[in-house]
Structures are given as structure tokens and as C-alpha cells.
């Protein structure tokens, strides 16, 4: 109980401190003759501002600095310049496979995931009987805790007794191949992860698509129908443009999520010969080998990739994302 009480005590202390700080901010700004509304506004967003400084800005700068040092926690960091990056690109035999499997996973799972979610949302947007039940079922994979999902899939992918191999084992035998050892054989690790991601494509993304589809004005479809547009044409010329802002958001969020997959990897424990996913590699380097500088450099490489991909999607979005609000 003692550690709980200690944390509880500090929690209340910090909470009180933040409330106090908010009052001080407001009073101080009023003294500086800031408008009352603005002073209160600044006071209200103070918790986030402080959090942004302490838990985002400072760590960002510190991380950039650490990536240029050698730091093992026990001794103070020593400056090594770009040495970490040189070593990562030239001599790190784990880096290539890690970046490869991480990127391939994102490139495969994100487009399939977004397209799949849209497809299912379109099916569920029809007025089918018992639709509520289906929606609930389709939400299941998202609701299940990640750890439970990872363990469940590890069991389903079990080479001897797993459900999947029991079903597809005979197919593999026809082609004269042995049953895949999903997490033990490097060739199957990536497919296994893509299958897991497929299972999770419903859920949040689907719900958002469903709402977006409901918001497409029906008169657009009616007019197109009268003009003789087929269902294929209506899909590409009405549905896609109208939901394109949602597609855009989901692609960006999907990329960020897919490139940072961690829990499922840790719990399924695939062979490292397939390449470790980047976030796991960073965790191992930083928190198991205590090479904090090197791990920070790896983190910045991953961050740059995420940033670059996001910018590419953002730039291209001008060509394919349609915002209705732009008319205003």
C-alpha cells in the first residue's frame, strides 16, 4: 500500500499545484492589464501549456541532443556528433531489417486497412436487418485489449495446434509445403502481422467512415442516377470525394500507428531474424542495453520517416482531398 499512498499523495499535490498555477496565471495577467476574457482563457489552458513544455518540447530538444551523444545512463553523455547515425547506416546489421519490416508493414497494412474499413462501412450503411448486432460484432477487435489480441493471435498462429494452420495446413500440403511456422520462420512474420492488422481494420475507422457516408447528401446520388451514372461511377465521383477528408485523416493516423507498433510485437515474440519492428528495436537499445544516445538517434530516424511520409500525404492531399467548406 505504501507506494500507492505515496503516489496518491504526490498526485494530489501536483493537482493542487496546477490549480494554484491557474489562479496565479489569471491574477498575474489581470495585473498586467490583459483583458479579463483573455486572462481567463490563458489560465484555463495552463495545464496543457505546462504539459506541452515539460512532456513534449523539452523531451524533443533533449532527444535531438541525446542522438548526438553516447549515453549509458551511468556516466554523463559524451558528445560524438553524427557518429551514431554513421554507425546506424554503415555498420548496424539490425537496422536494415528493422526499417525494412517496419516500412513494409506500414505500406501493406495502411492502404488495406483504410480501403477495407471503407468497404465494410459501405456494406453496413445499407439498411440490413439486425444491423446493430453486426456493428457491435465489427467493433469487437478494437474493443479487445491489445494484449489479449496479441496472445490470441499467437495462439491462432501456433504452428502445431493453431486454428489457422489446422484450416490452411491441408492447402499447404497440396503444394508440398510444410505448415508455416508463423512467428518462427522469418518469411512468415510479415504476412502474420498483416493478417493481424486485417482483423483489426473494422472498428474505429469503420465507425468514422459510417458517419461520413451518412453525411453525404442523397440528392447528389439521385442527380447522378438521373444523369445515367452507374454505381461504379457514383462511387468514384461522389462517395470517394465526399469522404476523402476522412480517408486523408485515417491514412495519416494509420501511418503513425503502424510505424510504431509495439505491444503486439512484444507479446507475439517473433523471431528477430525477420527484423525487429523499429519501436521494439529502440526499446531494446535504450532500455535493455542502456544505449540511450544510440536509441535516440534511431528514434529520430523513425520520426523523420513518419514526418516525411506525413508531408507527402499532406502535399498530395491537395490533389485528391475535397473539402466542402472551401466554397465559403
Amino acid at each position: 500500500m505504501q507506494p500507492h499512498l505515496a503516489t496518491g499523495f504526490r498526485f494530489i499535490l501536483v493537482l493542487g499545484g496546477v490549480v494554484g498555477l491557474m489562479v496565479v496565471v489569471q491574477r498575474l495577467l489581470l495585473l498586467l492589464r490583459v483583458r479579463r476574457e483573455a486572462a481567463t482563457g490563458y489560465a484555463l489552458i495552463t495545464p496543457w501549456l505546462v504539459g506541452f513544455l515539460v512532456f513534449t518540447s523539452i523531451p524533443m530538444i533533449a532527444s535531438a541532443y541525446l542522438s548526438l551523444t553516447d549515453y549509458n545512463i551511468l556516466q554523463p553523455p559524451t558528445w560524438v556528433g553524427l557518429e551514431n547515425f554513421r554507425r546506424i547506416f554503415n555498420r548496424d546489421i539490425d537496422f536494415g531489417p528493422a526499417i525494412r519490416i517496419t516500412l513494409l508493414y506500414a505500406f501493406l497494412s495502411v492502404p488495406i486497412g483504410v480501403a477495407g474499413a471503407l468497404f465494410i462501412a459501405m456494406l453496413l450503411a445499407n439498411d440490413l436487418k439486425g444491423i446493430g448486432v453486426y456493428r457491435t460484432i465489427y467493433y469487437l477487435p478494437t474493443v479487445l485489449p491489445e494484449v489479449a489480441v496479441a496472445l490470441l493471435w499467437r495462439w491462432i498462429f501456433n504452428p502445431q495446434a493453431g486454428l489457422l494452420n489446422r484450416i490452411i495446413g491441408p492447402v499447404f500440403r497440396i503444394f508440398g509445403m510444410s505448415r508455416p511456422d508463423w512467428f518462427g520462420d522469418p518469411t512468415y512474420v510479415l504476412p502474420a502481422f498483416v493478417i493481424i492488422s486485417l482483423w483489426g481494420i473494422t472498428g474505429v475507422n469503420m465507425v468514422i467512415f459510417l458517419a461520413a457516408l451518412k453525411n453525404v447528401p442523397t440528392h447528389l446520388y439521385e442527380v447522378a442516377f438521373i444523369d445515367g451514372a452507374g454505381s461504379w461511377r457514383r462511387f468514384w465521383s461522389i462517395t470517394i470525394p465526399m469522404v476523402s477528408p476522412v480517408i486523408f485523416l485515417q491514412v495519416v493516423r494509420g501511418i503513425i500507428g503502424a510505424l510504431q507498433i509495439f505491444t503486439v510485437y512484444a507479446f507475439t515474440n517473433p523471431t528477430p531474424r525477420a527484423g525487429k519492428f523499429m519501436s521494439f528495436y529502440i526499446y531494446q537499445t535504450g532500455f535493455q542495453q542502456f544505449r540511450m544516445g544510440y536509441a535516440s538517434a534511431l528514434a529520430w530516424i523513425l520520426f523523420s520517416i513518419i514526418l516525411a511520409l506525413t508531408l507527402v500525404v499532406l502535399r498530395s492531399s491537395e490533389m485528391w482531398v475535397y473539402y466542402e467548406g472551401e466554397r465559403k
Binding site: H4, T7, G8, R10, F11, V14, V18, A38, G41, L44, I45, P47, W48, L49, V50, G51, F52, V54, F55, T56, I58, A62, S63, L66, L123, N126, L128, Y134, T136, L140, V143, L144, P145, E146, V147, L151, L152, W155, A161, L163, R166, V207, A211, N215, V246, V252, Q260, F267, N269, S279, I282, Y283, G286, F287, M292, A299, W300, L302, F303, I306
Partner: protein, 296 residues
């Protein structure tokens, strides 16, 4: 071309008939939707089924769908194999504090962004939104070092204190969007009646955005319940482990053969509270997502 002539001769060909087409389309939809539902539920049912089998039957071939005999004992055995009661207590403790901090701070911040005009507000809000895109790996190590310099490694603090500082930009965004749909006139009326900021916030805004608060509550609960990396990095003593961390070490290393029926029992237990919460708060869950998805 014969189709066209058929159409001119006796009205429309059957596949051009709208009612027939609609029916075909509907039937196909049903088939796909039901097949999809089956694919989604089978792994889940398999998990429950595996959790109730005697250890010998887990590997039985052909697979046994209905466990016989039903081993309820698996749950007790798995639960007592490690101090899971303690892990559950720790997890609940973390969630209680985290939920309190997150709900208090995000609503206050969202209120500031939704209702008060101040210089730089829009710029700050864009910064807030862009932190949603920030990968956690970049801040992971320095954040760890900050907690370490405070001597708070191997305490629950790093897992919960951050929540006081409005951790989730997405939650702030969600609440703000909801607050913007509340008519300003109500607060103005209260202002005329002499209500101060806190009264307007507490008596008018909070009751009106209850659905959004519930959604944020559910999301926060889920985030803490799912969190694995945080406890893995910050907690060292087994007495402080959370459920996820306990299960991770319960699973054993790559060399050990896991006790699958026990692991599936633990997975089922882990899924239970979240499933329950989802069924109880399903409406708010989906409503919360929908509001942000559309106006995003």
C-alpha cells in the same frame, strides 16, 4: 447486343430491373456482412473455448470446439499462479488516478479553447493538434530521464501524473468540438445572472457535454488498460506490476512453452471489463468518435 434487343422487345431485361438488382445487391451485402462477422468472432470464441479446456485437450486434433469437461478451474489456477489480485489492484489504482487527472484537465483546457478568445489561441490549438501526430518514441527516452532525475522510477508517478497536464490532445479536441455545439446563449444568460467562470463551467457546460465526457472516460480507461510500454519501462518490482506486465512475464520467454489454456483464460479475463464497458457505453463511444471524425 442481344440484351439490348431483349430490352426493347419486352421492357427491361431481368438484370436491368431495379428491384431485382436491389435484391441481388442486398443479398450479396448480407452474405459478405455475415461472413465478415463470422471471421471476426471465430478467433474470439476460440479464445474462450481454449480457456476452458483441460491442458491435454488444447492440442487435440481435430480441434475441439466445445470443451469437455469444462474446466472453470483454469481461471482460478491461472489467477493464482502469479499474484494477479495484486496486479489488478495496481491497475485499478493507476486507472483511478489517471482517469481523474485526464477528465479534469482535458475538460478545463477544452473549455478554454472553446469559449475564450485570447491572442495566439488558434496557433496554440494547431500546435495541440499537431502533437497528435507526434510519435511517442521520440519523447520516450528523455521523459524517462526526467522521471529518473526526480527519483521516481519504480513508482506509479510516471504513469499517472502526466494525466493532470492534459495528456491526450485527441481528448481535448473531442471535448472542444462538443462544446462548440452548445449554444453560447445559455452561458451568457448565466453570466447576466452573475455566475462566475467556474459556475458556468460546472453547472452549464459539464452537464451538457456528458456524452463527450463519457466517451473520453471510456477512451482513457481503454488507454490505461492497454498500456504496456509504460509499466514495462517504469515498474521494476513485481509487487507494482500491472495486469499487462504480469501477463507478459507469466507468458514466459521464447524458450518456455506457454500454458495456452491459462494464457487464454487471462486474455478472456483481460477482455471482459472492456467488453462490458463497451456494451454499457456503446452509444457514447461511437457518438464521441463520430463528432470528431466528421468535423476533423
Amino acid at each position: 447486343m442481344s440484351q439490348v434487343s431483349g430490352a426493347t422487345a419486352g421492357g427491361l431485361a431481368w438484370w436491368e430491373n431495379r428491384r431485382v438488382r436491389d435484391r441481388i445487391y442486398k443479398t450479396v451485402s448480407y452474405v459478405v456482412v455475415i461472413a465478415g462477422a463470422a471471421v471476426l468472432t471465430i478467433p474470439f470464441l476460440w479464445m474462450i473455448s481454449s480457456s476452458l479446456k483441460p491442458s491435454a485437450a488444447v492440442f487435440a486434433s481435430p480441434p475441439q470446439w466445445i470443451p469437455d469437461p469444462v474446466m472453470w478451474r483454469n481461471y482460478i489456477d491461472a489467477w493464482t499462479a502469479m499474484p494477479f489480485t495484486r496486479f489488478l489492484f495496481n491497475t485499478v489504482f493507476i486507472i483511478a488516478l489517471g482517469l481523474t487527472g485526464e477528465l479534469l484537465s482535458t475538460t478545463v483546457v477544452a473549455y478554454g479553447f472553446a469559449r475564450y478568445r485570447f491572442p495566439g489561441r488558434n496557433v496554440l490549438f494547431v500546435i495541440l493538434l499537431s502533437t497528435m501526430m507526434l510519435p511517442y518514441v521520440v519523447t520516450l527516452i528523455p521523459t524517462f530521464l526526467i522521471w529518473r532525475s526526480l527519483g521516481l522510477i519504480n513508482t506509479f508517478d510516471p504513469l499517472v501524473i502526466g494525466a493532470i497536464f492534459a495528456w491526450g490532445p485527441f481528448h481535448i479536441f473531442l471535448l472542444r468540438q462538443f462544446m462548440l455545439t452548445v449554444p453560447v446563449q445559455m452561458e451568457e444568460a448565466a453570466l447576466v445572472d452573475g455566475a462566475n467562470t467556474m459556475q458556468r463551467f460546472g453547472y452549464i457546460m459539464i452537464p451538457l457535454i456528458r456524452p463527450a465526457l463519457l466517451a473520453v472516460g471510456v477512451f482513457t480507461f481503454q488507454a490505461f488498460w492497454n498500456d504496456f510500454l509504460g509499466p514495462l519501462i517504469y515498474l521494476n518490482d513485481m509487487t507494482k506490476y500491472t495486469m499487462n506486465l504480469g501477463i507478459y512475464f507469466f507468458m514466459g520467454g521464447p524458450a518456455e512453452a506457454p500454458q495456452w489454456h491459462w494464457l487464454m483464460a487471462m486474455s478472456t479475463l483481460l477482455a471482459l471489463p472492456v467488453l462490458l464497458l463497451f456494451f454499457l457505453a456503446q452509444r457514447y463511444f461511437i457518438e464521441g468518435l463520430t463528432v470528431t471524425g466528421i468535423k476533423g
